[in-house]
């Protein structure tokens, strides 16, 4: 019985989310049963990095057709690898955009369903996911024959809690060459690009005032800008606000925008969907202003005001100004 851990890289280095997935994999079995997988056209450096974590084995899934990510290339290559081994118990991934693009298809090739965006794993194994945009959690069990495919939410497992393995010998590294044919790869991706030049660096902001759907109308935005100005904070937003064009995309916080960790994060009229929370829950002090006392944002907030933001925000702007004098 073995566990595959599929590592994802960015800029030639293994992503932090991949190590969090390792922490999750270690809840499913001991380190020596874990086989880490790196995928690409040239994976030597990645494999060397993967071999430093005391896991059982590293496999380099290498093929010229894997130089750029495609859903077809990755799912066929991993299908080939998993089929070549007997008794695979689990396949674990970080829940990245890339994984969301191909892992459901890979699982389907085995007649399985990915248990995606998992936030906790208990004995059983029982997997916890968020439902209804974070307003509920649900516990899931895998009950089919065949491997259990799991992807884990960014920040849910602690990469730094992986115990050092001083006694473990050097991790063996193997190369696996999947059978791939250019005709199998039906999509042609371009190089990634950005829309507009970055004029603000939210990542280094000390204080952020962030606004969500609760603001209702674009004409109400100056009220938020006034609070941000009083606090000497950067203005940011959840996705719907940027979708509406009320703030530029470069001010969006969340999985599709920026990940921030300021000293103060003040969320106004943001319910706190998972996609937003992953972008800001590492902030030192989180304040939420929302009319709904059950909004998920309060699960991560240090301070909260339950009330009408159209009354609270102007009062808060005044209170901040008064405190400065």
């Amino acid at each position: 019985m073995s566990i595959f851990l599929v590592l994802e890289e960015s800029g030639g280095k293994i992503k932090r989310a991949s190590w969090e997935a390792l922490a999750a994999a270690l809840k499913l079995g001991p380190a020596h049963e874990v086989t880490a997988v790196v995928i690409g056209a040239q994976t030597e450096t990645l494999a060397a990095e993967a071999a430093t974590r005391g896991i059982g084995k590293v496999v380099r899934v290498e093929h010229p057709l894997l130089a750029h990510y495609t859903a077809d290339g990755f799912s066929f290559a991993l299908h080939d690898l998993i089929q070549s081994q007997n008794g695979t118990k689990c396949v674990v991934f970080p829940h990245t955009y890339q994984v969301r693009d191909y892992a459901p298809a890979l699982a389907c090739k085995f007649g399985q369903v990915l248990i995606g965006d998992v936030i906790a794993i208990e004995d059983g194994p029982i997997f916890t996911r968020q439902l209804l945009q974070g307003r509920l959690t649900g516990t899931y069990r895998h009950c089919g024959n065949g491997p259990c495919f799991v992807s884990v939410q960014a920040g849910a497992f602690r990469a730094d809690e992986i115990a050092a393995q001083p006694d473990a010998g050097p991790t063996p590294i193997e190369i696996f060459t999947p059978t791939l044919d250019a005709a199998q790869i039906r999509t042609k991706p371009s190089e990634p690009f950005r829309e507009s030049p970055q004029t603000v660096d939210l990542g280094s902001a000390q204080r952020i005032v962030s606004v969500g759907r609760g603001i209702k109308e674009e004409s109400n935005m100056p009220m938020i800008a006034a609070l941000a100005s009083a606090l000497d904070a950067e203005l940011a937003a959840s996705r719907p606000i940027c979708d509406n064009g009320w703030l530029p995309l470069e001010r969006q916080v969340g999985s599709s925008g920026h990940t921030v960790s300021p000293k103060l994060y003040l969320a106004v009229g943001i319910s706190g969907a998972i996609q937003h929370l992953v972008g800001m829950k590492g902030s030192q002090c989180i304040v939420a202003i929302n009319k709904d006392p059950d909004a998920p944002i309060f699960e991560v907030a240090d301070y909260g005001i339950v009330g009408d933001l159209f009354e609270v925000v102007p009062a808060l702007t005044e209170a901040v100004k008064a405190a400065k004098q």
């Binding site: 965006d117 439902l131 209804l132 509920l136 009950c143 089919g144 371009s190 990940t259 808060l316």
Partner: protein, 256 residues
């Protein structure tokens, strides 16, 4: 272009959520329902493609009788006809089971393009579209904001993480899962609502599509989320709460 749009009816995002007595799901009686937002963007993209290139937009939705209201909404916005997979307990299926139903209903239509939202706002599995593509043997792309028809097929704009994008080219037929925000959603006009009543809405029983495989993944129980932090709620009037908050931020959290 003949386009099938798979849409899901989900609890309205502002509807209060109460856990059902058996803790298997939420209490559905008296719940308000709405079209899953990413699916609304998929529908919008389909309608715009039809306006540019001609063709037909067929809405496809699985669920109990109540789903009819969301299907009518899609027809009112401009879809030409609809297929309702009647399935009283959609949650008895896992994502593969639901995708099988959808794929079976899509097959005889032989569309050029299948669109759906990238995920649902209730279960949030984010896989149905990808599995439908796999079952139909079609290429797919996810998190799509914009679709352009080319001579060879499609060129789509795909969202990556942290503000990055990429273009992906692919042949037709294909399956795309749409991200929210790529277009502005239209409202149904009064005329549209009238017309919707006369459009074809074909009901197909899930059993006729060959349902039956046991799920491999089971949702056992739902619960209120565990709090990650203990939140100090500041009460009183707006002004009192604001003054108290500033005091806390200054002297307790020391972030001002």
């Amino acid at each position: 272009m003949k386009i099938v749009v798979a849409i899901k009816q989900v609890p309205d995002r502002d509807a209060p959520v109460r856990i059902a007595a058996n803790a298997k799901w939420i209490e559905e009686r008296e719940l308000q329902w709405a079209m899953n937002e990413p699916d609304a963007y998929a529908l919008e993209e389909a309608l715009q493609l039809k306006e540019k290139h001609g063709g037909e937009v067929i809405v496809l939705s699985a669920g109990p009788e109540r789903v009819g209201s969301t299907i009518r909404e899609a027809l009112a916005k401009g879809a030409d006809r609809a297929i309702h997979i009647v399935c009283d307990d959609l949650r008895a299926h896992d994502a593969l089971g639901v995708a099988r139903l959808l794929a079976e209903a899509v097959k005889p239509e032989n569309p050029d393009l299948v669109l759906t939202g990238l995920q649902s706002e209730d279960l949030g599995l984010g896989q149905t579209g990808v599995i439908v593509a796999e079952l139909l043997g079609l290429p797919h792309a996810t998190l799509i904001l914009h679709v352009e028809k080319t001579d060879a097929g499609l060129k789509v704009k795909r969202e990556l993480e942290e503000g990055w994008f990429q273009s992906v080219e692919m042949p037709l037929p294909a399956v795309l899962t749409m991200q929210s925000g790529g277009n502005k959603l239209r409202y149904a006009t009064l005329m549209g609502i009238k017309r919707a009543k006369t459009k074809e809405l074909r009901a197909v029983n899930a059993a006729e599509l060959g349902e039956g495989a046991a799920p491999t993944v089971i949702l056992e129980q739902v619960a209120a989320p565990k709090k990650q932090k203990s939140t100090q709620i500041l009460g009183g009037s707006a002004k009192e709460a604001a003054v108290a908050l500033v005091e806390k931020l200054k002297s307790e959290a020391r972030v001002l």
